[in-house]
C-alpha cells in the first residue's frame, strides 16, 4: 500500500514536471562519481554560497536550498556521498573510489518559480533530481541486448586486430584447441572464460575501452557465477543448431541468460526512464595512450548511445515513456590543461563524439558540448620567462609531488596515427585540491552543465 502511494506521488511529480532523472553516462574513469559528488555538494551549498554563478536560478537567488531525500527505489543502494566527500577532504585529498555497483541519490531542490501557474500553487516549488551512479563498464553491456550469440561473437572477432590480437593470443590458443561439439565440461569452460577475462583486463590496462561483457571485468555480486563463464567463438553460423549438451549449447545458453537476467534487468531498472543525459568523456587519457585508444573510445561511446531513448517528451510521454530530450557532452578534466586550451578540448570532444552526435541528432533534441572539471585539482596562472608569459597550472600529482607545469597543447583535431611515433602527449593526472572547510568544492563550468541539464526545470 505504501509502495503504491509512493509511486502515485512519483507519478504526480512527473506529471507536474518537477521530477528529473539524470543519466550520468561515461566509460570507466571518465569521472562519473566525482561529477555526482560535486553536483550534490554544489547544490547543497547553494543556500549559503554563491558558487554557481552560471546557473541562472542560483545566480538570481531563486534557489532556496537543496537537501538529500530518501529515494523511492529501496532496492538500490544509496550513493555514497559522505564517503566520497570524506575522501575528497582527507589529507592528502583522494579521488572518490571508482564505483563497483549501482547506487542512487535523490535531491530535492526548493526554488522560487517564475512561472505564474506554479506561483499560484505555492510560493516555492520543489524539483526532485534523481542521479544514478553505476560502473561505466556495465554500460558497455547494453548493446548486447540487440545481439544474439553468433553475431556478438562475430563482432568480437572482427575487432581482434592490432593490440587486441596481440593480447588475445593465450585465450585464442586455448579456444582453437577446444572442440565446441564435445560434451559440455564446466571446468574447461571456466578455464577458457578466465583466460578471456584476463584478456579483457589487459585490454583495459592498455587503455582500450570497448570491453564486453562488462561484468567480466567488474562482476559485482556475480563474481564466480557460471553466468559469467562464457566467451565468443569463431566460425559460427546462425542456422546450424548446436549439438545438445555440447560446449557450444552451454555457452549459448549462458550468453542468453546473461542477456536476460543481467543486462536486461540492469537496463529495465535503471535505464529506461531518463529525462536528461550528460555524457562524460575523458579526452586526455586516450591522447596519452595513442590513436588506437582514441578511436576505441569513440566507438564505445557510440555503442553506448544506441541504448538510450531520445526524443522530445511531452506531458504524456513524460509520464509513461520518458525519453531523453537534452544531451550534454562534457570533456572532463579541463583543470588538467591551461584555460586557453579549453576551446581545443571542446573541438577534440566534438570529434570524439561525432558518431554519437549523429545518432542522437536525428531525434531533434538539444545537444551541446562543453569542457568542465567537476572537482578542480589545479590552480591556473602564468610563469614569467625571458621569452614572455607562459600559461601554467599548479597542482599535486597522484604521486604527491607539487608541480607547476604547462601540460602541452591539446590538438583541435586528432593527429594522424604516426604522430605518436615522434611525439608523446603527457597530461599528468593530479590529486584533487584540498578543500576549505564548509565550502563547496571548486569546479570549472559545472554550473554551466547544470544550467543546460536542469536550468529549464528551475524556472
Amino acid at each position: 500500500m505504501k509502495r503504491i502511494g509512493q509511486e502515485m506521488t512519483d507519478l504526480l511529480h512527473r506529471g507536474l514536471d518537477s521530477h528529473v532523472r539524470l543519466a550520468v553516462t561515461g566509460l570507466s574513469r571518465a569521472g562519473k562519481t566525482a561529477f555526482i559528488s560535486s553536483v550534490v555538494n554544489q547544490l547543497l551549498h547553494t543556500s549559503t554560497h554563491d558558487n554557481l554563478p552560471l546557473l541562472a536560478a542560483a545566480r538570481d537567488k531563486r534557489i532556496v536550498g537543496a537537501k538529500r531525500v530518501p529515494q523511492t527505489n529501496l532496492m538500490v543502494p544509496r550513493f555514497a556521498y559522505d564517503e566520497a566527500m570524506e575522501q575528497l577532504t582527507s589529507t592528502p585529498p583522494q579521488w572518490p573510489v571508482p564505483t563497483r555497483d549501482v547506487s542512487e541519490i535523490r535531491l530535492a531542490i526548493k526554488y522560487h518559480s517564475t512561472r505564474r501557474t506554479r506561483k499560484l500553487i505555492s510560493s516555492t516549488s520543489t524539483l526532485y533530481l534523481d542521479i544514478i551512479d553505476y560502473p561505466g563498464e556495465w554500460l558497455l553491456d547494453l548493446p548486447l541486448l540487440d545481439l544474439d550469440f553468433a553475431s556478438w561473437s562475430k563482432q568480437q572477432f572482427n575487432a581482434l586486430h592490432g593490440l587486441r590480437a596481440e593480447l588475445a593470443k593465450p585465450w585464442l590458443a586455448e579456444l582453437d584447441a577446444l572442440n565446441l561439439d564435445d560434451e559440455a565440461n564446466e571446468k574447461t569452460l571456466a578455464h577458457i572464460a578466465a583466460l578471456y577475462t584476463d584478456y579483457l583486463h589487459q585490454c583495459k590496462a592498455q587503455g582500450l575501452h570497448w570491453v564486453q561483457p562488462g561484468r567480466f571485468v567488474l562482476p559485482g555480486e556475480l563474481d564466480g557465477a557460471p553466468v559469467l563463464q562464457f566467451f565468443p567463438c569463431r566460425y559460427l553460423n546462425d542456422d546450424n543448431k548446436p549439438v545438445k549438451h555440447s560446449m557450444l549449447a552451454l555457452l549459448k545458453q549462458r550468453y542468453e541468460e546473461y542477456q536476460n537476467k543481467v543486462v536486461k534487468a540492469f537496463y529495465k531498472h535503471h535505464f529506461a526512464t531518463f529525462d536528461r543525459q550528460i555524457v562524460l568523456v575523458d579526452c586526455l587519457s586516450p591522447l596519452n595512450q595513442g590513436y588506437e585508444s582514441f578511436m576505441d573510445m569513440r566507438s564505445a561511446i557510440d555503442q553506448i548511445m544506441q541504448s538510450f531513448r531520445y526524443g522530445r517528451s511531452g506531458m504524456l510521454s513524460r509520464l509513461f515513456a520518458p525519453k531523453i530530450d537534452k544531451v550534454l557532452f562534457a570533456a572532463t578534466k579541463a583543470d588538467h590543461v591551461t584555460p586557453d586550451q579549453h576551446a581545443s578540448m571542446v573541438s577534440l570532444l566534438q570529434q570524439m563524439i561525432h558518431p554519437a552526435w549523429q545518432h542522437a541528432a536525428y531525434e531533434n533534441i538539444d545537444m551541446s558540448c562543453i569542457s568542465m572539471a567537476s572537482v578542480r585539482a589545479t590552480q591556473s596562472g602564468h610563469i614569467d620567462t625571458p621569452q614572455g608569459k607562459i600559461a601554467a597550472i599548479q597542482g599535486t600529482t597522484e604521486e604527491g609531488q607539487t608541480i607547476t607545469v604547462y601540460p602541452g597543447d591539446v590538438p583541435q583535431k586528432l593527429p594522424h596515427a604516426d604522430y605518436w611515433q615522434q611525439h608523446r602527449f603527457e597530461f599528468s593526472s593530479f590529486r584533487p585540491a584540498p578543500l576549505e572547510s564548509d565550502a563547496p568544492c571548486k569546479h570549472i563550468r559545472l554550473d554551466r552543465a547544470l544550467e543546460t541539464l536542469i536550468g529549464d526545470k528551475l524556472k
Binding site: 576551446a343 558540448c369 602541452g408
Partner: protein
C-alpha cells in the same frame, strides 16, 4: 601537427594572472584566432548567435569629401584672419583689430560647442563599437579578455566600484571562465540592475504617455506631448546607461531607434502586434480615447525597449531580454483606471 607545444615543467613560483592589462582589442583578437575552432565545425556557435538579439546599428561612413571641404574652408578662414590681423597691426587700424578679437571670441565659443558635439557623436559611435566587440567576444569562445573588457564597460557606464552587484561579479570570476562566461555573468549580475531601472523608466514613461493621450482633448497637443515624453525618455535611458548625448548624437540615436523599430524581427512584430491590436480593440470598444491612449503607450514602450537594446553595452541575451508584455499590462491597467469608472 608538429606545432603543438609540448609539456613544460617549471620551477618558478606560479603568479596569479594580472587583471589590469590594457585592452588591445585588435591585436589580441588575431592572436587568439588560432585557438578558435572554425565555424563550420563548431555546432555550438550557431546556438550562441541565435541567442543574441539582432540590433541594427548606424553604419560608419567616412565622408572624405565633406572633411576635405571643411579643412580647406577652416584653413582659409584661419589664413584670412591672421592676414587681416597682421595688416590691421601694420596699418594701426585698432578698430578692426578689436572687431577681429570680438569675432574670434564668438567663433571660439562656436568651435567649442561644435567640438563637444563631435566628441559626443564619437562617443556614441564608440559605444556601438563596444557592442560589436561584445558580440564578437561571445561568439568566439576564447579566454582572457572578458574581464578587462567588462571592467572597461563598467567604468564607462559609471558603475561604482563598490556597488554590491559589481563586487559580486568580481568575486565570482575565475581564471577558468571563458570570455563568454564572463560576459554572461556581467550581463546577468551587474547590467541586470541597470536594466531593472531602465524598465521601470520605460514603463513609467509609456504609462504617462498613454494617460496623457487618453485624457487630452486635442489631437495636436497629443502629438507634441508624446514627442516630448519620448525624447526625454531616451535622454534618461542614455543617462542611466552612461552614454553621453549631444544634439547630433541624440538625433542619430533616435534615428537608429526608429530604424530598429521598423525592422524588428517579423515574428516579434506578429506576436506583439497581435496582442496590441487585441488590447487596443478591446479598449476601443470601451472608449475611443482609451484605445488611442493604449496604442500610443505601447508605441512608447516599444521605442523605449529598442532604445534600451541600443544603449546597453552588451547585446540582449534572449532569455533575459525585457519583453513588451511586461510593460503592456501596466499600461492597460493605467488606462482602464483612468477611463473606465
Amino acid at each position: 601537427m608538429s606545432e603543438l607545444k609540448t609539456k613544460q615543467v617549471f620551477s618558478q613560483p606560479l603568479q596569479a594572472d594580472e587583471t589590469h592589462v590594457e585592452l588591445n582589442a585588435q591585436q589580441q583578437f588575431s592572436a587568439q584566432q588560432t585557438f578558435v575552432p572554425s565555424v563550420s565545425e563548431e555546432e555550438t556557435t550557431g546556438d550562441v548567435e541565435s541567442q543574441l538579439e539582432q540590433v541594427i546599428r548606424p553604419a560608419r561612413r567616412r565622408k572624405w569629401g565633406v572633411v576635405s571641404v571643411l579643412t580647406a574652408f577652416s584653413g582659409l578662414v584661419v589664413w584670412q584672419a591672421v592676414d587681416s590681423v597682421f595688416s590691421a597691426i601694420q596699418s594701426a587700424d585698432w578698430l578692426s583689430l578689436g572687431w577681429a578679437g570680438f569675432v574670434s571670441l564668438l567663433a571660439g565659443f562656436g568651435i567649442t560647442a561644435l567640438g563637444r558635439e563631435w566628441w559626443r557623436l564619437r562617443q556614441l559611435r564608440q559605444h556601438f563599437s563596444v557592442q560589436e566587440q561584445a558580440e564578437a567576444l561571445i561568439e568566439q569562445d576564447a579566454v582572457g579578455q572578458g574581464r578587462v573588457f567588462c571592467e572597461q564597460i563598467a567604468r564607462q557606464s559609471g558603475i561604482e566600484a563598490h556597488s554590491p552587484a559589481y563586487t559580486r561579479w568580481l568575486n565570482s570570476l575565475e581564471h577558468t571562465h571563458s570570455d563568454a562566461d564572463v560576459l554572461e555573468m556581467y550581463d546577468a549580475m551587474v547590467l541586470s540592475e541597470q536594466d531593472k531601472q531602465a524598465t521601470k523608466l520605460v514603463s513609467q514613461y509609456s504609462t504617462q504617455a498613454a494617460a496623457l493621450v487618453a485624457i487630452s482633448p486635442l489631437a495636436l497637443a497629443d502629438m507634441l506631448l508624446v514627442a516630448w515624453r519620448n525624447f526625454s525618455m531616451i535622454d534618461q535611458l542614455a543617462d542611466l546607461y552612461g552614454v553621453e548625448l549631444g544634439y547630433w548624437s541624440r538625433l542619430k540615436l533616435f534615428k537608429a531607434v526608429l530604424v530598429n523599430m521598423a525592422a524588428a524581427g517579423a515574428s516579434e512584430v506578429a506576436i506583439d502586434a497581435g496582442m496590441d491590436l487585441l488590447s487596443m480593440d478591446l479598449a476601443g470598444k470601451v472608449s475611443a480615447r482609451a484605445g488611442q491612449g493604449l496604442g500610443v503607450g505601447i508605441l512608447t514602450a516599444r521605442l523605449g525597449l529598442k532604445a534600451m537594446s541600443l544603449l546597453r553595452p552588451l547585446p540582449w541575451h534572449k532569455e533575459r531580454a525585457v519583453r513588451l508584455s511586461a510593460i503592456r499590462k501596466q499600461i492597460v491597467a493605467k488606462v482602464t483606471a483612468l477611463t473606465v469608472r
